[in-house]
């Protein structure tokens, strides 16, 4: 492994994503090979069965970088806060 990204990133989980993972937030240092949101999801799934469960159908989990909606191909470099959640159901 080469050098890890120096800055920790805050991950946030909401609704059933939060319930399946078992926590609402955590700080992680992303490995170098995590370039996009999709890469991050793939890496998270290696961290335990609770992540496998939460991201069993990654296409239904939405993401936001620094509080703005993004697609799974969005680059995560420089993000301070990355959130994962189900499709929204407000209103």
């Amino acid at each position: 492994m080469s050098k890890a990204s120096p800055k920790p990133v805050k991950l946030l989980y909401f609704a059933w994503v939060r319930e399946k993972i078992g926590r609402g937030s955590e700080e992680v240092t992303l490995p170098d090979n995590v370039a996009t949101v999709a890469d991050l999801v793939a890496w998270l799934k290696t961290r335990g069965p609770e992540f496998g469960e939460a991201f069993a159908r990654p296409e239904v989990v939405r993401a936001a970088l620094d509080k703005a909606h993004v697609k799974s191909d969005a680059p995560v470099l420089g993000a301070r806060e990355i959130a994962f959640f189900p499709p929204v159901t407000g209103g």
Binding site: P86, V88, T89
Partner: protein
């Protein structure tokens, strides 16, 4: 333009009055109130809990409101969305739009609700009469409703 996310209830008439107080350029006010109701299908619900993403919710609602302001000649607008524990009959959401004429106010209110339902980070969890709870699924027709506002 104003956005509020709160657990307390709101008074529709008071909010509309405050928004338009002292204004003589407003000829049309549209208010939309969304309420907790029993599902048409399925068993009745006992309560509902609304979770949201503090910070992103306000940012996203402000963005949606700015979009509406850019598209219609609005003199004023307001979005209030409640969070936390609610029961059937409770208010959930209020949208108020004010314009010189009715068409802009009607259309902007529809736009705000359609975009809010597909963009604002809120999630509903329903609890049934015997205590069992489940997350509400996103509806395909909400997505379709939001798409009708896209520029060709």
């Amino acid at each position: 333009m104003s956005v509020k996310v709160q657990s307390e209830d709101f008074d529709v008439a008071a909010e509309a009055a405050a928004l338009t107080a002292g204004r003589t350029d407003i000829g049309a006010i549209v208010t939309f109130t969304g309420r907790v109701r029993h599902d048409d299908k399925g068993p009745p619900i006992a309560s509902m809990t609304l979770e949201h993403y503090p910070g992103m919710t306000e940012t996203e609602l402000s963005r949606i409101e700015a979009d509406a302001m850019a598209r219609w000649p609005l003199q004023a607008s307001l979005i209030i969305h409640r969070t936390g524990h609610l029961v059937p009959g409770d208010n959930i959401v209020l949208v108020v739009t004010a314009s010189a004429h009715r068409q802009a106010a009607f259309e902007a209110a529809g736009f705000l609700m359609d975009y809010l339902k597909t963009r604002a980070p809120f999630w509903k969890k329903e609890t049934g009469p015997s205590g069992e709870s489940s997350w509400v699924d996103a509806r395909e027709n909400d997505e379709t409703a939001a798409k009708r506002w896209r520029s060709p």
